[in-house]
Amino acid sequence: MKRALPVVAAILLLTLPLGVSNQFFLHLGITVLMWTTLGVAWNLLGGYGGQVSFGHASFFGVGAYTTMILYLSYGLAPWYGMLVGGVVGALLSLPIGFICFRLRGPYFSLATLAVAEIVRLVALNWEQLTAGPMGLLITSLPQVTLFGNAINWERKEPFFLIVALLALCTMFAATLLTRARLGSYLLAIREDEDAAESIGIDTTRAKLAALAASAFFTGVAGGFYGLYFRYVDPDAVFPISLSIEMVFIAVVGGLRTVAGPVVGAVFLTVIAELFREHFAVGHLIFYGLFMMLVIRFLPEGIWGRALRILAWRH
């Protein structure tokens, strides 16, 4: 029963577009699933490893730009470009981790924030590569025929399926990684880094591995963003607020849970949709307020608390 649940949920998710054709609902679903991917990816390092990054927007942005540039300049279809974007994000994460992992706790977090700003400024000013603040625009997506039918990129269904697959793969990978040796090492590091090192764990390597995996999925999600919106600019894919929203999703949903970010992403999307019409960036105030309430009253997150209540009943 417990093993079947994720499989059933995955099948339901992938077949959802058969039943729901309302494009607005599908758009909301796409948004939730993209944020879910980001929350799960962030959780790998921030939740399981206890290394709170405020700089994940750099991997998202680099993934998005890689996807766009590969398509616009080299004609590589964005669905492949996304994967390359993930790899580039992971590669970028290694030097960043090498620098930032010399620091611990809040100092690590501040360093990631600073490095992400550097990456954003590079993207903003390297105009030959990124077109600077103008951004990059995809006017049309490649023609694809699947089972004899041409895919209609003007509808949301194909995007929904792509991002649903991405979210499911990310959750599956997170489950495998955290159950493997790496998960145990991250647990030790989160509990006490010196003690972890003293029992023979290469803490720097374990943190780099978690960061690279986290950056990979964040980069792929960035690539999806480019594919879906067909337009990226530095303000859209590199802002600090994006890094903060990833933290928000993981914390609100539940640190160190695989499904928690789904809950976090639903909340984030709902809050954003409720307030975006009325205030330009006002929704961020409400995220902040909501996050304070969650940290005060549900420190283990909404899903984390739900899991605890369920476990308690059994």
Partner: protein
């Protein structure tokens, strides 16, 4: 060849020389006590040997090979395990999980690590508290658990930083028995300690430090009769 050779070890913190040209050997199978007044540099020596600090000058050799510059985890894998002066358990995990994590580093499966952890915890007498979170254990039990965690890495050399600190008389006795049992099991032990009576009884040999320098090295009875040691602890006789 000595198991561990420390030669010319020096460490500066800014203008302060915490450890100064320190040399001593640890022979296989012995219990070596490292003592000295507060601030003598004992814990710094442990941090230098285990790679948590890099020496300014000097060498540390394990079975003839220099281990200076290796990261702490690499030194642990070479066979030196340690405990901390202020215990560093994995606080939210059970005693069993604490120790199993250490065993997992060199074993293949969680099941093997768990059975190794139970075995080691039984050795240190914590088999009745396997499933207690580490933070709920008494200081004495936390110190035992930390020793178990270090033993689970299968060390040749175990460095204990004040294993008796904060323990009552009864617990000191039990801990001394445990240290002797560990040595009997084939693990060489170096301990930093303040509890003089205990360390003099269980150590085969004692190295005395004062202000970063070695002032005496010998059997407990040689060391207590050494005028330099008496001066370090009690001040110089005036009249």
């Amino acid at each position: 060849m000595a198991l561990l050779e420390v030669s010319g070890l020096t460490r500066d913190f800014g203008g302060l020389r915490a450890v100064s040209n320190l040399s001593f050997n640890v022979e296989t199978g012995e219990i070596l006590g490292l003592i000295g007044p507060n601030g003598a540099g004992k814990t710094t020596v442990f941090n230098l040997i285990t790679g948590f600090l890099r020496p300014t000058v000097g060498d540390v050799r394990l079975e003839g090979d220099s281990i200076v510059g290796l990261k702490p985890h690499a030194i642990t894998r070479r066979g030196i395990a340690r405990t901390f002066q202020i215990v560093k358990p994995f606080p939210h995990l059970t005693a069993c999980r604490n120790v199993a994590l250490a065993a997992l580093v060199r074993l293949d499966t969680h099941a093997q690590a768990r059975s190794e952890a139970m075995h080691v915890l039984e050795q240190v007498g914590l088999d009745d508290k396997l499933n207690k979170p580490a933070s709920d254990l008494t200081i004495s039990d936390q110190k035992r658990m930390e020793i178990a965690r270090a033993l689970a890495t299968h060390p040749k050399l175990l460095l204990l930083d004040e294993p008796l600190g904060g323990l009552n008389t009864r617990e000191v006795q039990d801990a001394c028995d445990l240290i002797q049992k560990i040595r009997a099991g084939g693990v060489t032990v170096v301990l930093v300690e303040h509890v003089m009576k205990a360390i003099m009884r269980i150590s085969d040999r004692v190295v005395v430090m004062r202000q970063g320098e070695k002032i005496a090295d010998g059997t407990p009875s040689q060391v207590v009769n050494d005028p330099a040691v008496q001066a370090a602890y009690f001040g110089k006789r005036v009249a």
